[in-house]
């Protein structure tokens, strides 16, 4: 294994021959370099995409702080080198290394991949390969680091089951510490890998795929995924932190331009809206809100320590943050005149949102973004994001009248039962919004319509739904392209092939692992980057494995079909999702669950946590019953 000095020497020789060498040298303010030899447990946190994107990932930042705060552990980072750098690294025998100390990844005890989206899977394989670590969990032993993954994509871990020793399901803040404890003890006692993995599998929220096996029906559908031994759980329930730990304030500051250059403070986790297409809204329940004082203090400390020029206040639905007005006033008062941009994404479509943005509008104001997601009232009921047209038009008009010249509207096509009329409604709505804008600002007004394609994600009420075929998607996109041809309108869309890949990867079962492996062997990587995505490689990989891609994406699933992710629980009951899906088919909306509890399943599973944290911090009803009578939960 190369030493950090040897890696350094080789790097010197290649860095000037690649684009943006600053991606590969570390040395950022607030990066942490601890003494290698005195840390008992060493973890590499890997974001398997380009540095420019990964550097602003909040999940990595949270875990980096958490691990480095422990006296007995250290965390360092690695990202995916761009293709030019990868070629140089392979040519000069430079393995994937950590930015802080330049140790090869293989020298760490634990390597944790962040997998927020599925198109990172081939990059993950590529990075393991570049690190000289066997790709398959079965090919690794005591000489190799433990390889784990976490992040939203891991709510269906099966497509990556062959490559990971373990997955973290749900929020990582507490469970990662427990994993480090186990690992530290295992190292001290010289515990074998199999033994350690068994300990991990018994840790709540940790899925160790080698202790489970999948059986299939003759028609190829899944019969069950079940444990192969009695001492691991049949269903792995996600982890959830009852009280959000303090927000990170020591943001790593890149020395080169990144995609996001900002402090990001999570004001709230979870969402009570229940939009049926939204996976994040289901898997991040319950809603927990930080206090205004905590957010403002964290923002102040983070701006001070990072020097960033932008502050983003993040949540899935900022308008629903209870003290939003108070927060915006406090942030405005604190940061006015300090040449900062404040971003408050995910606002509801209502005039109050315009007031909020007005208060935060600094001198560098960008466009205003709203996400109606659907344009016909029928479709808005189906997806459970009901906003009347008049409200959208009034809000748009207000935005333009207050001087924003660009409005971005996000929609999706491919919702269940969608027809060309529903797509035409997107065109009509955009035209009407543009007319409002012209009335307010004249011809300099701009509209940006971003239209992505719906993918029925695991753990949502729409998980039974089929993805549109490429022909259906193209027909809808053609209609949009024709109908929105206007010099004031910019239309962007997702290529049908990109949608299909994401759909296969997010809905796949264990057999998909072989497809991913075959596609990577054939050269697939950076699949989320248009110029690198090779659809043909994926089709060939399916063929090589004797699998039909349409099986995964274009079937309407019967209610009883077993899903590859059924043994992974986000605490929301399948029964609740199915009932909500049926309501959707009947065109019935379900109100915000802050108004009344619909018993999604969170409270019975996390009754103890709720009892321990009473009051307004959680947005679920309080649990008053004594702990003993908890099983069964709410009526």
């Amino acid at each position: 294994m190369l030493s950090p000095d040897e890696i350094d020497t080789r790097l010197e020789r290649v860095l000037l021959s690649v684009q943006k060498p600053g991606r590969y040298v570390g040395g950022e303010v607030n990066s942490v370099r601890k003494d290698w030899d005195s840390a008992a447990t060493r973890m590499a946190l890997v974001f398997p995409d380009l540095y420019d994107l990964g550097i602003s990932n909040l999940g990595i930042q949270i875990l980096y702080d958490l691990v480095n705060a422990r006296p007995d552990a250290l965390a360092e980072r690695a990202y995916a080198p761009w293709v030019d750098m990868e070629a140089q690294m392979r040519a000069h025998g430079i393995p994937l290394y950590s930015l802080e100390s330049r140790h090869p990844l293989a020298a760490f005890d634990l390597v944790g991949f962040s997998l927020p989206y599925e198109t990172l899977y081939t990059n993950t394989l590529n990075l393991l390969d570049l690190a000289g670590i066997p790709l398959r969990a079965a090919g690794r032993d005591e000489r190799h680091p433990l390889i784990i993954a976490g992040g939203h994509a891991c709510f269906n871990p099966e497509p990556m089951h062959a490559f990971m020793d373990a997955f973290v399901i749900g929020e990582g803040e507490e469970v990662l510490s427990e994993i480090l404890d186990l690992l530290g003890r295992a190292k001290q006692r010289g515990q074998g890998r199999d033994d350690l993995l068994l300990d991990l599998a018994r840790l709540p929220g940790v899925y160790v795929p080698r202790f489970y096996s999948a059986e299939y029906h003759p028609d190829g559908t899944l019969a069950r995924v079940s444990p192969t031994r009695a001492d691991v759980p049949a269903v792995v329930v996600k982890r959830m932190v009852a009280q959000l730990p303090p927000a990170p304030v020591k943001f790593i500051v890149p020395n080169i331009e990144a995609v996001h250059n900002r402090v990001a403070i999570e004001i709230m986790r979870g969402c009570t809206r229940g939009c049926r297409f939204c996976q994040a809204g289901m898997i991040t329940r319950p809603v927990r809100e930080r206090s205004v004082a905590e957010v403002v203090a964290a923002a102040e400390a983070a701006i001070q320590s990072s020097g960033f020029e932008e502050l983003a206040l993040l949540s899935l639905s900022s308008s629903d943050y209870t003290p939003i007005l108070e927060l915006v006033d406090a942030i405005g008062a604190k940061f006015a005149g300090r040449h900062l941009t404040v971003a408050l994404p995910s606002l509801r479509i209502e005039s109050v949102s315009v007031d909020l943005m007005e208060k935060l509008k600094g001198r560098r104001s960008s466009g205003f973004t709203l996400a109606p997601e659907a344009a016909s009232e029928r479709m808005r009921r189906i997806i459970n994001k009901y906003i009347p047209d008049e409200q959208i038009l009034a809000t748009a008009s207000e935005i333009y009248r207050r001087g924003w010249t660009t409005l971005k509207l996000y929609f999706m096509i491919g919702h269940p039962s969608e027809t060309l009329e529903d797509v035409q409604a997107i065109i009509d709505l955009c035209r009407r919004v543009l007319a409002e804008g012209r009335r307010a600002l004249g011809n300099r007004v701009k509209l940006h319509a971003g239209v992505s394609t719906f993918i029925p994600k695991p753990h949502t009420p729409f998980q039974w739904v089929a993805v549109d075929t490429p022909e259906q998607i193209s027909a809808k996109q053609d209609l949009l392209k024709q109908g929105l041809r206007d010099r004031s309108i910019k239309l962007s869309w997702t290529e049908p092939q990109d949608t299909l890949l994401e759909a296969w990867l997010s809905r796949g079962d264990r057999r998909m692992a072989e497809v991913i492996h075959a596609a990577w062997r054939a050269g697939a990587k950076f699949d989320a980057w248009g110029e690198h995505f090779r659809y043909d490689l994926w089709l060939a990989a399916f063929q090589e494995q004797g699998l039909d891609p349409a099986f995964y994406t274009h079937r309407l699933r019967p209610p009883a079909e077993v899903f590859p992710w059924d043994h992974i629980s986000d605490a929301v009951r399948r029964k609740f999702l199915l009932a909500d899906y049926e309501r959707s088919l009947a065109g019935e909306v379900r109100a915000d669950c802050r108004e009344s509890c619909y018993a999604c399943g969170i409270l019975p599973l996390f009754a103890d946590e709720r009892r321990a944290h009473p009051g307004e911090y959680w947005k679920c009803p309080e649990v008053k019953s004594p702990a003993a009578s908890a099983p069964g939960g709410l009526p």
């Binding site: 060498p21 020395n255 331009e257």
Partner: protein, 212 residues
């Protein structure tokens, strides 16, 4: 108030480009609590001028930057306050950025970029080069050194103000005016040395009023 700082840019910061260095200064000043002044207009930006771009990979040992602060020029910056600012900036700077001096300059003095006259370089040479002294002599004796850059011919000789060998390194002072910039790699090529084999450092920027 306008202040002039000299600084070194070494280590991993050598791989950070000119535009990114602007951003590094803006953030360093914000972390240090120094109130940078901003330009007016649609896209306000911090008012700062870096004397001249340093090519990627080359360490700069005495680079110069001017920062405008949202503070009155009078009363003048006391040496003590200047030292405190320098300390605060140093504490806020990323690894590889070292503050060497800080002093107030006249607000009305011309743009820093127009005041650079020359740059001095130290080039550490690979071992085993023979006959270098003779090469240096003949280069200095040459009345002209016709070279080409991006398809355009130019004479390198008048851009070389001094060139001297000291043990295993070459020291040179090259012209650094707009449209008349001598490049150390070109000098190496004339001497028959592959620039990739040498380690180049820019040891000093010479401003017009400092020229002998």
């Amino acid at each position: 108030m306008r202040v002039r700082l000299t600084f070194s840019k070494t280590g991993s910061l050598r791989y950070i480009g000119h535009l990114d260095l602007h951003q590094v200064w803006e953030r360093t000043a914000r972390r240090a609590g120094l109130p940078l002044a901003y330009t007016q207009g649609f896209h306000p930006g911090p008012r700062l001028q870096i004397a001249c771009a340093l090519p990627l990979g080359i360490a700069g040992l005495a680079e110069v930057v001017d920062l405008w602060l949202d503070l009155p020029a009078e009363p003048p910056l006391s040496p003590q306050a200047g030292a405190e600012w320098q300390q605060a900036l140093q504490a806020a700077a990323p690894p590889g950025l070292a503050l060497l001096s800080l002093a107030q300059v006249d607000e009305r003095s011309p743009a820093l970029q127009t005041q650079v006259a020359a740059a001095e370089y130290r080039l550490s040479l690979p071992p085993g080069i023979t006959g270098l002294d003779a090469q240096v002599h003949s280069l200095l004796d040459a009345p002209s050194l016709p070279r080409e850059r991006r398809g355009k011919p130019y004479d390198l000789r008048p851009l070389i103000f001094s060139l001297e060998r000291r043990d295993e390194s070459l020291h040179m002072r090259l012209s650094m005016r707009e449209g008349a910039t001598g490049r150390p790699e070109e000098v190496l090529r004339v001497l028959g040395i592959d620039p990739a084999e040498a380690r180049i450092e820019r040891t000093r920027l010479v401003l017009k009023d400092e020229m002998d």
